[in-house]
Amino acid sequence: MPDTKLVKNAAGRMVPTEINGREAIPYKGVAKHRPTGTKAAPAISTVMDYPDSGDKTVPDIKAALVAAGLKDGMTVSTHHHLRNGDFVANAVFDAAAELSVKDLVWFPSASFPCHAPIIEHMKNGVVHHIEGSMNGPIGRYCSEGNMRGMGVLRSHGGRYRAVQDGDIHVDVAVIAGPTADPFGNANGLTGPAACGLIGFALADSEYADKVIVVTDNLIDFPCVPWQIQGNNVDIVTTMPAIGDASKIVSGTTQITKSPDRLRIAEMTARFVKETGIMHDGFSFQGGAGGTSLSFAIFLMEMMREEGVKARFVRGGSTQYLTQMLEEGLTDYILDGQTFDLEGVRSMRENPGHVNTSPFTSYNYHGKGNFASMLDCVVLGATEVDVNFNANVVTHSDGYLLHGIGGWQNCLFSKCTILPIPAFRDRIPVIVDEVTTIVGPGELVDVIVTERGIAINPLRDDLLAAVAGSDLPIRTIEEIKAEVDDLVGGAPEKPNLGEKIVAAIEWVDGTVIDSVRQVLPRE
């Protein structure tokens, strides 16, 4: 695509005006783009086309794809609730290859290292390109300019929005159901591949032309609760195993032993306590990363000491959030995904452990969402610049490293905190200019590093709230200077080519940045 037209957007980044044949709107700023028009909708179905018995099963994935009318150039979606243990996506494209179908667009809610075989399908022409998160070997393949189309990275909320708004039309959605019935009702609560919930597949089940549910635990109707409703499902099929249980959820969640990360987590919890964010009836969201998990544990301890109770916490749930719920330290867990067996058990047994979806939690083109109601969130980042703009998708060497996940959506919480080490190996995390802007600085409130806490100058309320505390509050420039001195200067910029290999969408569908091809250094 040497003739991709680029314009400078409101974040000062050059972005394409056309992506894979679609018009693309450059980012205009936070809360600046107003959508128009109506939502997308699939064709009207009729029960005349479905068996009265409710039995929609076919023998295997291949038969399911044939029944769904899979053709060259179609968009096929899968979902990441089976995480790095997923067998379904690879099976779908293996079957598509056997059917000699070409040029498919893969639209995953996220990809994992287990999906490396898709690279072969890109090489052999079965898959044209990926619109979804790219990391590991797939990220490398795309970053080096090997993918035919342009990658599009969206947040979980942005993905729901793209389907709802009709930016993406899903021809065939393949939904992994850890338990399902022949009618297509499915949930993630039981079965050998139990993962808790399957909310990432909601949009696809509602908007795709054809919806396939694939399970390794087919039970008699009804499968309850129906996290995915059979009334949205066209075809049901089985595989011997839809995933590797040991890679879907962990038996127990390990907390970090790194003294620096523990220090960062503890400082973050103290910040939340001492600013008064931790108060009766408050809410927070943390993930399953080592630091974020330890943050939750420290905060839980402080809540116990102070007798403070949360109204709700948002998962990624783990045994620790489950413990909070069972101990009465929170009334509810509003869960986006479950990371360990305790989380799955709790969701199955505890009515206070509620499953959510990107629609309820994150969709920016909706009538509100849960993310903006949170008192605070803690998130990761690969880089942050001195204006608090943050990157979560590329590494400082220019390679695609992570998906956006719910990250962008969470920035709308009342206080967004990034607990991050000030440097990794030799690489500083605070830079003059991030490799890729994924989150605008005006929404990033606090950076907590082992070398001090930097508060965004826009948040003078937070600065006032910590005045007089003995937390190590410093400017972001001070921390940066100290680290640059320690590591022997700022790193060199990556050697990037002209070709745009991926676009980064903002929550409203506008393009906030683009990712360029990484060239080898001569």
Partner: protein
Amino acid sequence: MSTTGQAGRKGDRVRSDCWISVELKESGGISVAVKSRVQSMYGASIERSVEQGLEVLGVEHAVVEIVDAGAVPFVIWARLEAAVKAANPGLTAELLPEAKESTRYGTTRDRFRRSRLYLPGDQVKLMLNAGLHKPDGVIVDLEDSVAPSQKEAARYVVRNVLRSVDFFGAERMVRINQGQMGLDDLPFLVPHNVHIILIPKAESADDVKAVDARVQEIRKEKGVANDVFLMPIVESALGCFRAYEIASASPNVVALTIGLEDYTADIGTQRTNEGRESFWARSQVVNAARAARVQPIDTVFSDVADVEGLKASIAEAKGLGFDGKGCIHPRQIETINAGFAPGAAEVEKATRIVVAFEKAEAEGLGVVSLGSKMIDPPVVKRALRTVELAVASDVLSENWREGGGENA
């Protein structure tokens, strides 16, 4: 003719370090091959570091290979110097990174030594942020935590750490090796603002005197102005018997400590959490140290995960008379500092004595009295120290005289 030398660590698990191989040649100039985890960001910088380093060392012809896992420049230089000197042991030039301003603070004989954090001498990753955890001291270790094959190369790393890493006010200690090897460690330490040398397995006054003499020799030779204090470690039955002689062997000894792994092996038993087998030895160390007017410091508590066990161990150490304890993980520091803080009643009594003392001084009285009781000078001295420790431990406000009172 060419000679080769290697230094450093490589492998999948290595971070913040590098491995360097140097082949010294007669001709052909310098060639550097860099393979780095941070290649695209620091590849050119690594190459420059190596070239500058070779120039300082006076090497004109060499083939250098470096396998890097994110080493910072002073580590690259330490590995380079060690590799060059392995190839050419006669070389005397030194490759010294600039001594950072932040490493130049001093220490005092009587400072608090509640917590001291052990850091393996060739694991830089653990050192860069060690001071952030606010131990009273850091101990960079050249002895047991460094493998014999790495001992020589570790000296360059430790020297460069002393010149480069800000420990944020923590006392800068190094544990040297035993015997002659330990004496040979000293030139890498004494000129670089080391505060305390820990002498392992001290068994006689002579062991301490030998180190002291070598330290003074290097101080004189290099014009080192700051004091270099000593902390002998008693780790054997013989050392325990001679604890007083060891503690009083030199005026530069400021503290005496004990190592229980070797001691329990030496007396033919095993170390337990209850520690009955070492009660006599620890008590002996406390009494010898007090008799010699130096600080008695307890050994480490090895089970990082067992916070309750650590607390009990601190309470016991404090009860026996120790002033501090070793840490093997930063998470133990806060617990130890808090554990050695004086109790509320102790603080209350000490502040009353200090107030009475200051009042007596202001009024020019020779005798300090509290109510109807006369207070002896050693008690006053002890009270002053308790107040100071209470302030340092955050259990007493710095402004306690103005009614700041005790912290919550």
